[in-house]
């Protein structure tokens, strides 16, 4: 089913891609503008990049955001993988419907609701057990894990159903115990999904503004909180420079994830073809 796009579809596709990319391209171009007024062209310059690198505020925010993102991605991948395994491989268990519901809801839940509810939760917890005494790194990380693990679980579930159970069944037939099957067969087979799940959780965390704004405390500014406080007052050329760097970093990460997934898909396809040939 390919190679027969009508003219209408081609036009829509072209317009769509232009709509997606022109704003981003302009954002990048204006980051090299010397002028202080973003839309007024004042010649090419790296002025805003050097101002950006000299700002300690920016560095602190970048460092906090990266720390949160790495811890979040690691925990979210672990928890999301366990959740995905439970949902796909363990059949029916008590509370499965509630579990599945809580696992899907964060994907669509408006951020203001999640943010507000986590904040009041942390405050009540503090009154009860005295922790968290102050909000910042820990509270933001917990909040991020809670919604990122849902995205990881979706990725893992898709991979688990996609790869089928043939290898696991074969191992079990050859006498491997269920736990051995899990560690020796299932987890290694999941590696590409684990990598892309980790990267997804990482970028989700770097991207979050609303939930972090609710659960943060004084002095703990993540990068999105810093960017938001600046662009609320209007266009800022230094933010264009920051945006350009972030777009570049994310594009590289996504490209790596895409290549990993693509290779895995091709390997799966080859496996299947080999299997079919042997059967035939």
């Amino acid at each position: 089913m390919y190679g027969n796009r009508s003219r209408f579809l081609t036009i829509m596709l072209t317009l769509g891609l232009a709509f997606f990319y022109i704003p981003m391209i302009l954002l990048v171009i204006y980051s090299f503008n010397h002028s202080k007024l973003v839309p007024v062209w004042g010649g090419w310059s790296l002025r805003w990049y050097s101002e950006l690198f000299q700002s300690p505020e920016v560095w602190q925010a970048v460092s906090l955001s990266l720390q949160i993102a790495v811890v979040n991605a690691t925990f979210a991948t672990a928890l999301g993988t366990l959740a995905g395994l439970a949902m796909v491989r363990f059949g029916r268990f008590r509370g499965r419907t509630l579990f599945g519901g809580m696992l899907v809801a964060p994907l669509v839940m408006p951020e203001v609701i999640t943010g507000l509810s986590l904040l009041v939760f942390f405050i009540s917890l503090n009154q009860l057990i005295g922790w968290p005494a102050e909000r910042g790194f820990a509270t933001i990380t917990i909040a991020h894990i809670t919604f990122s693990m849902a995205y990881v679980a979706v990725t893992i579930q898709a991979r688990l159903t996609g790869m089928g159970q043939t290898l696991e069944e074969a191992a079990a037939d050859l006498g491997a115990k269920p736990f051995k099957v899990l560690t020796a067969i299932t987890i290694p087979q999941l590696t590409p999904a684990l990598i892309s799940g980790w990267l997804l959780a990482f970028t989700l965390s770097l991207d979050d503004l609303v939930i972090a704004s609710f659960v943060t405390g004084p002095g703990a500014n993540t990068l999105p909180i810093l960017i938001f406080s600046r662009i609320r007052l209007g266009l800022r050329p230094d933010i264009n420079a920051l945006a350009t760097i972030m777009i570049l970093v994310i594009a590289i990460c996504v490209a790596i994830a895409a290549i990993v997934m693509f290779r895995q898909q091709r390997a799966d396809m080859l496996d299947r073809q080999m299997a079919e040939r042997e059967e035939g």
Partner: protein, 317 residues
């Protein structure tokens, strides 16, 4: 870890460590299920009940700024005070009511716009050649991974009075005075459609990929015209994708905060922004909590429909 599992039980009974190992091995399924389950119960479900509780409290000059629901009086009697004032206040104040209606109007319209533009784009990708297809898919996914905040910001530069679009139109001599676009409802629509479009395209693409082209060919052989085939075969078969994509846009867009704040300024009232401001500027937590509960109440049905379709989709795959 792996070689322990092969040892016969009699060997590994010795130390405490190996006993732990055996415990883990016999109960690992429960452990795997219980850890993420309790995480979500604790950090996702429990917080909603606390919000519901606060929405029934009164504003107080205290930290945190609300009254307690359960109080121990001197005589040892528990008094429970539930105050529905916050909900009455939201219901009676036309500002809140109008804001809910306006949020729903904006999110429904944006969802329809995303569907109208996203459907042909997804269809075009499905019908592309084997080389172009993964590249096009990548091109759609890339902005989805790029910072949401920066994607919204990029439109501030385009839509501003001194922005790229106005500058271009003035330079071309089409207009003399800049058109006001930033800080209007129009800008909010652009922002939502722009940032949420990938959420529409990806589920649509996933269902379209599975379509069997022989159905279209059979219809054509039997003399069906392309428009007829589209409305009677393609559209009904892609319904799961349409529903999933629409809910992925509609539900979060209704509670959107960043887009109405940055692109709408103070001129576009949406409930997410009201909630955020009620909480952060006015510090009226009970009202903010009540606003959140009402929003959740409005969205609970669409969320359950979404969960149902997600569950069905993951079983079919």
């Amino acid at each position: 870890m792996t070689d322990v599992s092969n040892k016969p039980p009699s060997v590994s009974q010795g130390s405490f460590g190996s006993q732990m190992m055996r415990r883990i091995q016999s109960h690992w399924r429960q452990i795997i299920t219980v850890i993420p389950f309790f995480w979500l119960l604790f950090f996702f479900l429990a917080p909603f009940f606390i919000v519901a509780k606060i929405s029934l409290a009164e504003l107080a000059i205290a930290s945190p700024p609300f009254t307690k629901l359960v109080e121990w009086t001197d005589s040892g009697i528990v008094t429970i005070r539930l105050v529905f004032d916050n909900f009455v206040y939201i219901w009676e104040d036309s500002l809140y009511f109008d804001t809910y209606v306006n949020s729903l109007k904006i999110s429904v319209t944006s969802t329809i716009l995303c569907l109208l533009f996203g459907y042909p784009i997804a269809y075009a990708i499905v019908r592309s050649g084997p080389v172009a297809k993964p590249l096009l898919l990548f091109a759609i996914i890339l902005p989805f991974w790029t910072s949401f905040l920066l994607r919204v910001y990029s439109w501030m530069g385009l839509l501003a009075d001194q922005g790229t679009i106005n500058n271009l139109l003035i330079a071309l001599g089409i207009i003399d005075e800049p058109i006001r676009m930033l800080y209007t409802e129009f800008a909010v629509y652009i922002g939502i459609v722009y940032t949420y479009m990938p959420f529409m395209i990806l589920p649509l693409y996933a269902t379209m990929e599975k379509l069997d082209n022989s159905l279209n060919e059979a219809a054509a052989d039997l003399g069906s015209r392309p428009t007829n085939t589209f409305f009677r075969i393609t559209l009904p078969l892609t319904m799961p994708g349409i529903i999933a994509g629409s809910l992925l846009v509609f539900i979060p867009a209704t509670g959107e905060y960043v887009i109405p704040d940055l692109l709408g300024g103070g001129n576009v009232q949406m409930i997410g922004r009201v909630l955020f401001n009620e909480f952060s500027r006015n510090s009226d937590w009970p009202v903010a909590a009540a606003v959140a509960i009402v929003l959740l109440f409005i969205l609970v049905l669409p969320i359950m429909v979404f969960q149902y379709f997600q569950g069905k989709a993951s079983e079919e795959r």
